[in-house]
């Protein structure tokens, strides 16, 4: 969580200094939800399809910091090689699919990964997880994907981070049911509600949801109540969020809550947290500096082919665009 916050603060500064082209989407305020999910999964066997506010979960799942800084800063060394950027990065063969912007689309994709794992090995215990926001629950893709996963009784965990606004649209313009978790029953999947600002509650619920999925209980849906502590992206000041929400319960910073929880219980000391902060700031700085030194992609070195297949008899199918 700490590393994610420090990294995201840095990304925000780089964006404001004009060093990052395109959008910057942060997970401030949602770190407890995301990190708890990432921690509950096993990176060796499981799948984690992160969405736009999952920097903390990505780190917890084992994504290197460099994947983030290289993608944002357009280094050709990054996993997307400048062909895609920011939060659209991934390593699909290592259990980290690369999201597309069309919300809800990753639900069926993760379902398919789990379907294949089960076909290849009926004793597979791998779990697949993906996050969505409150807005994505309104898409057909979300509905179709979760329904298929339920029909196939696959070990899927869908975490809905209800941060009260889909970009600027409030919950009451997004859905009419009292609480999104009510939908779990309709799909025939397990349902959990959790206060997304409470790290210990999140960690407990995510672990239980993942445990149930792994033990054969079928898909699990976790609805976490949060408030994002930034705009939709760094281009957005979030001025549509009313003051009473900002100063209310969900407006509290989950990292401050977590620090209190951990120090009150004597699990860590304030000095240790300060040391973590310092260490993480150094690691973030190194990851940024390295990505900044690396080459940008070169249009003349690109093969400009969207297909892996080459058709020797027919060049026209994947002909380079004339310069």
């Amino acid at each position: 969580m700490l590393r994610s916050r420090i990294l995201e603060n840095k990304l925000s500064s780089l964006y404001k200094a004009g060093k990052i082209v395109g959008g910057v989407y942060l997970g401030k305020g949602q770190e407890a939800v995301s990190a708890s999910l990432g921690t509950a999964l096993n990176p060796e066997t499981d799948v984690f399809s992160a969405l736009i506010r999952d920097q903390a979960g990505r780190i917890a799942f084992g994504e290197p910091l460099l994947d983030c800084t290289r993608s944002y800063l357009g280094s050709v060394e990054g996993p997307m090689r400048g062909r895609d950027g920011n939060i659209h990065r991934g390593r699909p063969k290592e259990g980290m699919p690369a999201m597309i912007s069309h919300l809800g689309s990753q639900v069926s994709l993760v379902t398919g990964m789990l379907f294949a794992k089960r076909l290849k090995d009926p004793t597979s215990r791998a779990v697949g997880a993906t996050c969505v926001g409150d807005g994505a629950t309104s898409t057909g893709s979300f509905h179709e994907g979760l329904n298929v996963a339920a029909v196939e009784k696959l070990p899927l965990v869908v975490v809905v981070a209800n941060n009260q606004f889909a970009y600027s649209t409030p919950n009451y313009r997004q859905f009419a049911c009292g609480d999104l978790v009510e939908r779990a029953r309709g799909y025939g999947v397990g349902g959990f509600s959790v206060d997304g600002t409470d790290l210990i509650a999140c960690a407990t619920v995510m672990r239980e949801a993942v445990r149930r999925a792994r033990s054969g209980d079928g898909p699990q849906m976790v609805v976490a109540q949060v408030l994002r502590l930034s705009g939709h992206g760094e281009h957005d000041d979030g001025s549509y969020v009313p003051e009473d929400l900002r100063s209310g319960h969900y407006g509290r910073d989950c990292i401050e809550v977590a620090i209190r929880q951990l120090t009150d219980r004597g699990i860590v000391t304030v000095d240790e947290i300060m040391a973590w902060q310092e260490q993480n700031a150094e690691e973030v700085q190194r990851a940024v500096a390295q990505a900044q030194q690396e080459q940008a992609p070169d249009p003349y070195q690109e093969d400009w082919s969207a297909l892996s297949t080459r058709f020797p008899l027919c060049q026209s199918g994947n002909q380079p665009i004339a310069q």
Binding site: K93, P97, I100, S105, V107, S108, T111, G112, E144
Partner: protein, 322 residues
């Protein structure tokens, strides 16, 4: 003993299931029911645990196939009708088609699209989607016109590492018969001269190849014109070498398709021939497509909506009169 076009599709899937454990079939009503057109009849019984009924969820069907492909499988998705693939459009063009370019991981899925019109099918069970998919980078679009191509191109398509849209024409399913499925086996990306000629070239694909041949027979009988018919076989990749070589021989081009007239495959063919082979042309290149309305229900309207041997002959007479 004869083999129909749909027999070839079923046989190809049986061979794939038998020889490649990565292959599985996923679609609506395709397991014990055998599919709306019986393209998977008997396969669920012959290959237990490899043929799955899906919910009516085209988006999730393709999303699931993409995820399975990432995990090393080679899924074949059956759309009940090509028209319904519009619901899966996002997964096809945004998820599958961009994946290799973005991540370096190819997505070897095959989506079977029962395409084209049949009498009485109406606006939502008749569409030809090949031009729409061909427009997107990252997709391969196959349009077999013969029994043998239906067989070989499905097998070859599944072997490709990239996403394949396999457009199978419903009108050909039972109407088109051959002595065997082991006809000429050309690689994907190579067009075929279905009927040699010297006065004009018709570039067609899928069911329109047969309409073009009929029109060519008629014109030969009527007035001695010898029309060359080129079967594209795949609209992407597009074999321009064969098309340009044919136009070089005949000097005249008619691009023929069953899809709607705005843009699409015929426009691409005419555009490329004009750009790359303007000097070969003795007459302005022509296009003939379906009309610019939804596909009508009534057989009389339907027959006048799509190109027919009569309208193809008319177009060729115009082309030959220049």
């Amino acid at each position: 003993m004869s083999v129909t076009y749909i027999d070839a599709i079923r046989e190809a899937q049986a061979k794939l299931l038998g020889e490649d454990e990565r292959v599985f079939l996923y679609g609506q009503d395709i397991a014990s029911f055998g599919g709306a057109f019986k393209a998977t009849k008997g396969l669920a019984e012959a290959f237990p645990g490899r043929v799955f009924d899906s919910p009516i969820s085209e988006d999730a069907m393709v999303g699931l196939a993409i995820g399975a492909a990432i995990e090393g499988m080679r899924p074949i998705v059956e759309m009940q009708f090509a028209d319904f693939s519009s619901i899966a459009f996002n997964q096809i063009v945004n998820q599958a088609a961009t994946h290799y370019y973005r991540t370096g991981v190819p997505i070897p899925i095959t989506v079977r699209l029962p395409s084209g019109g049949t009498p009485g099918s109406g606006p939502f069970h008749s569409q030809s989607m090949e031009g729409i998919y061909a427009q997107y980078p990252g997709l391969i679009v196959l349009t077999p016109a013969t029994v043998s191509d239906a067989y070989h191109m499905l097998i070859d398509g599944v072997a490709l590492d990239d996403p394949v849209l396999y457009c199978e024409h419903k009108f050909l399913y039972r109407w088109l018969k051959a002595k065997s499925i082991n006809g000429e086996h050309l690689p994907i990306g190579q067009a075929r001269i279905t009927r040699p000629g010297k006065h004009a070239t018709v570039v067609a694909y899928s069911a329109m190849v047969h309409e073009a041949v009929r029109a060519a027979d008629r014109l030969l009988e009527e007035s001695g014109w010898e029309i060359e018919v080129v079967d594209l076989r795949s609209v992407k990749p597009l074999d321009m070498d064969t098309v340009l070589a044919s136009v070089a021989r005949t000097g005249r081009l008619l691009a023929l398709g069953e899809a709607f007239p705005w843009g699409g495959v015929t426009a691409e063919v005419v555009s490329r021939v004009t750009e790359e082979g303007f000097h070969l042309l003795d007459a302005p290149p022509q296009r003939l497509n379906a009309r610019d309305t939804p596909v009508p229900y009534h057989p009389k309207l339907w027959a006048a909506h799509r190109p027919t041997p009569e309208s193809i002959c008319d177009a060729l007479r115009r082309l030959l009169s220049f």
